[in-house]
Amino acid sequence: MVIKNPKINVSALSLYYDSKQALKNISIDIPSNRVTAFIGPSGCGKSTFLRTLNRMNDLIDGVRITGDVIIDGVNIYEKNLDVVNLRKRVGMVFQKSNLFPKSIYENIVFGSRINGIRDKKKLDEIVERTCNQAAIWEEVKDRLNENALSLSGGQQQRLCIARALAIEPDIILMDEPASALDPISTAKIEELIFDLKKNYTIVIVTHNMQQAARVSDFTAFFYIGELIEYDKTSKIFTKPSIKKTEDYITGRFG
């Protein structure tokens, strides 16, 4: 499978924690406006790899990266690239909701405020738009000034998504977004992802294979820091080409 005009093109990416190599020579093309899932057993590096796409690994001491990550024709690891700006274009949703202990409204407009947007009407519009996109508007529209942490787990996670959408990225990275949620909330999040891909490129890390099968268009299987197989989801889950992939999918190891 070859992907032309990928949104993200990664070539020969390796990552080292001090002297230990965590990611080995990964090359992958991620298409735009589709959902790509990273699966693999615990510790295989899928979350670490996800974080290289918005340079969140820079925040960890002792991390060294070789190889290229090219988004929209720009190598995001080149010298002097504005990383702060990069993170505004590549949004991230974390495994556990990390809403700020502020009101629902203030959480969503956090990104806008630090970008200098102060006009209340504009902020209001941002809040309504992103909450609608995150399918949570009806539930919060009357409680915008309440503490965001008073929401349920599933609602909080959807709010995190709304907060990420507010800065208008084109790519959204999700690190196991539903792993801490109950089945009903999980279903809502998956529905949300399906809607979002119309306008955003989504990369989702999940340890739940069934979720990957349900939600994604393309799936990449990682194992001990290497990319083993990458193909259309339908193919990976029905006729994987590599034995290791098949073993993982069928549960021979986990």
């Binding site: 992907i3 929209d72 504005d82 274009r89 990458y230 193909d231 590599i242």
Partner: protein, 340 residues
């Protein structure tokens, strides 16, 4: 990429062709990702970082300044008085060594020995008493007191620590002196014992607090292991938890001792302030700290006496500095052990 299917997927088909619509044909497309950090922002963030870094070193700077300026004013002591004189003075008549602190006499004597002995005879008993009470309090708070009681009692001990030392000195002077005079009939009304008691009131919270922290940080799994082997509560405390926390407890004792040595107001008010050589628990004594406090106001600038007092300050600072360093090393070792 390892795949056998030769399918070509064009990613651009997925995106709406917005981008190509909005740009005039002759304009080169600059990706929003290509933005470089502006020099201005880089400089701004660096300035902010240096601003904080400057403040970060204030504590270090002040420790150095204390060293420097104490030594600076005490320097005269080496020139004008001489190191030996701080230990003893040889009597020109009898040839005996005289250990006296009597800077205001015609034949000024600057022996620190009576003062050091005075400090020790107040600090050591105080530390002994405080160790017993402090460790007991720490054990109680960490192992015996339950939930709500603990929430209430731990602040009570902290409150103890918040009492100004001058108030404790006052209490000892006005209440304690009379009480113990009737009870024990000491040689002097204000004496080392009284001062030691007052010091204990200050040091007990220190030892209690550090002991409680050390005991509490021992993971519960260890207690469970001991109980699971049939140990009683006291056996667990005595044989498992206390030994495991020994570094924290020792650090507390060392810090407490350092505090006892450096404390001023309580000894100034309760110890009687007589610089004797033959120190006794129930006689008046003079500590190093009280000497500085009592005499500094009277000395003339840059006189020998002035230098001598600063010299005492240098000695005090050095002793407590070493004790603190020692305690710090022990606490760091303890932290390393707990990290698993």
């Amino acid at each position: 990429m390892k795949s056998t299917e030769n399918q070509i997927i064009d990613s651009l088909e997925n995106t709406e062709a917005e981008r190509s619509e909005n740009k005039p044909a002759d304009q080169k497309y600059t990706s929003p990702y290509a933005k470089r950090i502006s020099k201005r922002t880089r400089i701004k963030e660096k300035i902010i970082k240096y601003f904080f870094a400057l403040h970060g070193f204030t504590a270090v700077v002040f420790i150095l300044l204390i060293f420097i300026f104490l030594f600076k004013e005490a320097w005269g002591a080496f020139n004008h008085i001489g190191l030996v004189d701080f230990l003893y003075q040889e009597s020109s008549q009898t040839g005996n060594k005289i250990y006296e602190w009597y800077p205001t006499s015609e034949n000024a004597r600057y022996s620190l020995i009576p003062l050091i002995l005075g400090t020790l005879i107040t600090a050591i008993p105080a530390t002994l008493i405080s160790t017993i009470f402090g460790i007991a309090a720490g054990i109680y708070l960490s192992e015996i007191a339950e939930g709500k009681m603990r929430e209430f009692l731990k602040p009570a001990i902290e409150l103890f620590a918040g009492i100004p030392t001058v108030v404790l000195g006052f209490f000892m002077l006005v209440v304690g002196a009379t009480f113990f005079q009737d009870l024990l009939n000491p040689a002097n009304r204000l004496n080392a014992f009284l001062a030691a008691l007052g010091l204990s009131l200050v040091i007990i919270p220190i030892i209690a607090s550090l002991t409680e922290d050390a005991l509490h940080s021992i993971p519960n799994e260890m207690r469970m292991a001991a109980y699971g082997l049939g140990a009683t509560k006291w056996q667990t405390i005595r044989r498992v938890i206390l030994p495991a926390a020994i570094s924290g407890v020792s650090a507390g004792i060392i810090l407490g001792f350092g505090r006892a040595i450096g404390e001023t107001m309580i000894v100034l008010m309760a110890s009687g302030n007589a610089a004797n050589l033959f120190v006794e628990l129930f006689r008046s004594v003079r500590t190093m700290t009280a000497t500085i406090a009592a005499e500094m106001g009277e000395v003339s600038h840059h006189s020998d006496h002035y230098y001598a007092l600063f010299f005492i300050g240098v000695v005090l600072f050095t002793i407590t500095f070493i004790l603190n360093l020692f305690a710090e090393i022990i606490i760091n070792k303890m932290r390393k052990k707990i990290k698993f």
